[in-house]
């Protein structure tokens, strides 16, 4: 893709583009029009140039998108470092074959998310958050996280389900966010695919009586320490509409809760993640 062409088109369509950015919404829209086929290596240059030209002296405008990207980056660091450490242990932790392949697939996605978000933050003129030092035992709560396959998958499930809820919880702030919102949504659904698979792995190994989706607020994990990642999922009312038995159907409360995943606020997520950071 020809980047000069992108800049040309942008300036042509809005000659005063650099004077017009006076709202957060417009800041978000600067991501719009950057083709999603743009390669990762090209992304920082394209976005970075736009932001540097557009926001000199108006730093507060970009705070929201950059802050959300850094929030997402911290969560992706948590996941990518977790899977890397698990894979490093080898077959003693994750059995060879399908399990190792699946964890490898998920790990590769999390690493790609870290790279993507880091590039996007730099492109937006921001500074990527430092990678925290993690303690995946959560200060001893999950002491066997890298010696027990059961514990490893329990923590993996918690991270994936929390990740889904974390992205969802910030979606409203990205409304009309153009391609930035689309990218966040495209990561969000990948996390949900991961969660579904990890849950199937746990079920197949009799580690927990879980389904690919979240029933009420049950974690299927024998530790109260993960409960904060599931509280609120029991909600059966959406936009003030009760889903259980809606319109004389026989939709159970279980199904009603499963049919809609719930978001978590930034504070709720950070309280969960804090336990895994030294």
């Amino acid at each position: 893709m020809n980047l000069h062409h992108i800049f040309g088109v942008l300036e042509k369509s809005d000659p005063e583009v650099y004077q017009r950015m006076d709202t957060r919404r417009k800041a978000l829209q600067r991501f719009a029009g950057i083709g999603r086929s743009l390669s990762l290596t090209a992304l920082p240059f394209a976005l970075g140039s736009l932001f540097q030209k557009s926001y000199a002296g108006t730093r507060n405008i970009t705070d929201t998108p950059v802050e959300i990207l850094n929030y997402a980056l911290t969560l992706e660091y948590l996941e990518s470092e977790f899977y890397k450490a698990g894979i490093a242990v080898g077959a003693a932790l994750v059995p060879a074959g399908a399990p190792t392949n699946a964890i490898g697939t998920i790990s590769a996605h999390e690493t790609a998310h870290v790279a993507f978000l880091t590039a996007a933050i730099k492109a937006a003129g921001g500074t990527p958050a430092n990678k925290p030092v993690f303690d995946f035992t959560a200060k001893g709560t999950f002491a066997t996280v890298f010696t027990s396959y059961d514990t490893f998958l329990a923590v993996a499930q918690t991270f994936e389900d929390t990740g889904v809820r974390a992205y969802k919880g910030r979606a409203a702030e990205l409304v009309k966010g153009g391609d930035l919102l689309t990218a966040a949504l495209n990561i969000h659904s990948v996390e949900a695919r991961h969660a579904s698979h990890i849950r199937q792995m746990r079920k197949a190994n009799n580690f927990g009586d879980v389904k690919p989706w979240i029933t009420l607020k049950t974690s299927g994990i024998g530790s109260a320490a993960v409960q904060a990642s599931y509280d609120g999922e029991e909600n059966t009312k959406q936009a003030n509409i009760e889903i259980t038995n809606i319109n004389s159907t026989s939709i159970s409360a279980n199904a009603a809760s499963e049919a809609f995943d719930e978001g978590l606020t930034k504070d709720q997520v950070l309280a969960i993640v804090k336990n895994f950071i030294v």
């Binding site: 697939t105 993507f116 689309t182 695919r193 389904k211 049919a259």
Partner: protein, 233 residues
Amino acid sequence: MPKTNPSAGEKAIVVEGGVSALSRRKFLSYASVLSGLLVGASACDKDDNPSTSTVNLGSGDLGILNYAYALEQLEAAFYTKVISSQYSGITSAETALLTDIRDHEIAHREFFKTALSSNAIPALEVDFSSINFGSKDSVLATAKAFEDLGVSAYNGAGKLITSPDYLVLAGKIVSVEARHAAYIRDLISNGSFADGTVVDANGLDKSRTPAEVLAIASTYLKTKINANNLPTS
């Protein structure tokens, strides 16, 4: 907007096949009236003479919600049939989880119908003639196509929504569709829950525009969908 939808009793004609001539005629006339009103209101195109089997999704956020409602109608009708005429060799675990998915899709469909109220498009008529419901391969291949399509549809529609509340609702649904997609994919081939056919090198899922989605969905719909008034950016 005037209430032009069929009454509750007449909405029972959704299900494929077995539609009586009378109710079908009523359905078509309602659809015609509705799409005529929507087209007339938004485009004032006096020459427009929509086909009697065309439903217009409308414009703005309501149009996007109707778009989602249309897709959920399709999915709910599909899984209802999957459970009522189960493929040979289905396991009890598969029956249980496919029944869950059916209920989730019905919940989504009924949620949109209720939320949209008088703005809701009528019930769509589906065409599942290309699906062999007795065959596991045929059913799961279609389920995979529908779930991946649903994920990409919600992902692509997100940026077209202007209400934060509606965006969050779409987000609450899309991750459940992604959980379904991963499960169905693993049923077909374990480990394919997020393979390279749906996730790119940056670890991003697919998103599709309404036009792209409806071109694929139209194979399974007798009712024609007019999405011309949906926002495009």
